[in-house]
């Protein structure tokens, strides 16, 4: 399904359709597969630790259980923050013109990592917005492909190749001084994000599983 976004800037609404781009779409990719002794591609499956069940793609179900072990229907789930307070549901932005919130400084933009990039195809583009984008201005905007409980930062920018909508996550890095030397084996850090290609086989299984 084609996604679109309407952006209101300077009283003029610009409309774009979104095309997701990523490294795979730009350059292709490599993946690793396993072959048996006849050279036939193997499937991947989960083996329970007791060895009792071999679970191929599509043979498991994800569920939320209450204290009694009963399944809680998705519609009855309430998202809460770390203190247990219910989080509001933020509606998807499609179909509603999104005002440009503010311009982003380069430092602000570089305080984030990119999580998703969309190439925007212009249906209508306001002259003022176009001028600002061509001049290198980066805008904060609201964009949610679907309803969500958390706000995802998004930026609108342009270069010679086109106009892009970039979804991002904040890094939360802070300045450090001489006294803030870090231990090389510090254990306070969470498990790191790792590269997708290194786990292509696992990812394939997850994708198959999700589709199933």
């Amino acid at each position: 399904m084609t996604q679109s976004i309407d952006i209101n800037y300077g009283g003029r609404v610009s409309r774009f359709t979104l095309t997701l781009i990523d490294r795979k779409r730009l350059h292709g990719f490599k993946r690793r597969i396993a072959l048996d002794e006849q050279g036939i591609e193997c499937n991947s499956a989960l083996l329970t630790r007791d060895g009792r069940f071999l679970l191929s793609a599509g043979s498991t179900a994800d569920a939320y259980l209450d204290a009694n072990g009963d399944v809680v229907q998705r519609g009855d789930l309430v998202a809460v923050d770390a203190e247990g307070k219910p989080l509001p549901t933020l509606l998807a932005t499609a179909g509603r013109p999104q005002p440009v919130e503010e311009t982003a400084t380069l430092e602000d933009f570089l305080n984030h990592v990119v999580t998703r990039v969309y190439l925007l195809e212009t249906e209508t583009l306001g002259a003022v917005l176009e001028k600002e984008l061509r001049a290198g201005t980066i805008f904060h905007i609201s964009f949610r492909a679907r309803a969500s409980h958390t706000e995802t930062p998004a930026f609108l920018l342009a270069n010679d190749d086109g106009i892009f909508l970039v979804q991002a996550e904040a890094c939360h890095f802070d300045f450090v001084g001489l006294e803030q030397a870090i231990a090389e084996t510090d254990n306070e850090w969470e498990a790191e994000e790792t590269d997708g290609d290194a786990f292509a086989i696992e990812m394939d299984w997850e994708i198959e599983h999700a589709v199933a």
């Binding site: 730009l26 993946r31 071999l54 679970l55 030397a181």
Partner: protein
């Protein structure tokens, strides 16, 4: 969790192996039921290999008999196992007979941007190159923050930190140098220090850029890693 390290050179010809700190990821929301009682996520068994289509077909002989059996009963459901929590699992490769393989040959498949397989070859392990044996070189390539932000998709970022006072001097000087030039420095591998960085074994090669800021005697030095450029995909043939 041990932290990654990187061997960096600076504009003064000095070099040091310093620490990369990953970003703090935002917490995922947790869930309760409508009464406010906490719920927990679980992965449940829905079906097993013994009750899959292929096994049932071989048990009943032909599709007609299998259809009849499905109407008359529930041979696809193993009442002993369905609904159980899987608990921790190991990922295994499964052969054509549906049994786990004890050894498999891993090959690498190259796929073009249209999703077509274009090559299949033996797997070659590519090591990470953040800490090379030879001293790294300062590439000297600076790119303005404006151009970098609008040209690259920085999909990963690490804060470069010191473990002692000598490294502090080194990193603070580097951060100040970059801040004064309002630019990011290309850091990379190879003889010119401009090649791609590979963060983990068999990882995706990425372009690395250092960004520096200072505030008084403190500094913020960030390694931005670009997985791809912001550009239009080329049209297929």
């Amino acid at each position: 969790m041990p932290l990654r390290k990187i061997r960096l050179a600076d504009h003064r010809g000095r070099e040091a192996t310093v620490v990369l700190v990953p970003r703090c990821r935002p917490p995922e929301p947790s869930y309760t039921d409508i009464s406010g009682a906490p719920v927990r996520f679980a992965r449940l068994v829905k079906s097993t290999a013994d009750n899959g289509h292929d096994k049932l077909l071989s048990r009943f002989g032909d599709p007609e008999s299998l259809s009849r059996a499905l109407i008359d009963g529930d041979p696809e459901i193993d009442l002993e196992s369905v609904g159980r929590e899987t608990g921790p699992c190991d990922r295994v490769h499964v052969g054509a007979d549906g049994k786990p393989l004890y050894s498999a040959r891993i090959v690498e498949v190259v796929v073009d941007r249209d999703g077509n397989e274009i090559a299949r070859r033996e797997l070659v392990e590519t090591p990470a190159n953040l800490v090379p044996d030879a001293a790294p070189l300062w590439s000297g390539k600076l790119i303005s923050k404006m151009e970098a932000a609008r040209r690259y998709a920085f999909t990963r970022a690490y804060q470069v930190r010191h473990t002692n006072s000598l490294e502090y001097d080194f990193l603070f000087g580097l951060a100040r140098h970059l801040e004064e030039r309002k630019a990011l420095a290309l850091v990379g591998s190879g003889p010119k220090g401009a090649g791609p960085l590979i963060l983990e074994r068999n990882g995706t090669p990425m372009k690395g850029f250092l960004e520096g800021r200072t505030r008084g005697e403190t500094y913020l030095l960030t390694l931005h890693l670009a997985a791809f450029e912001l550009k239009m995909p080329e049209a297929g043939p």
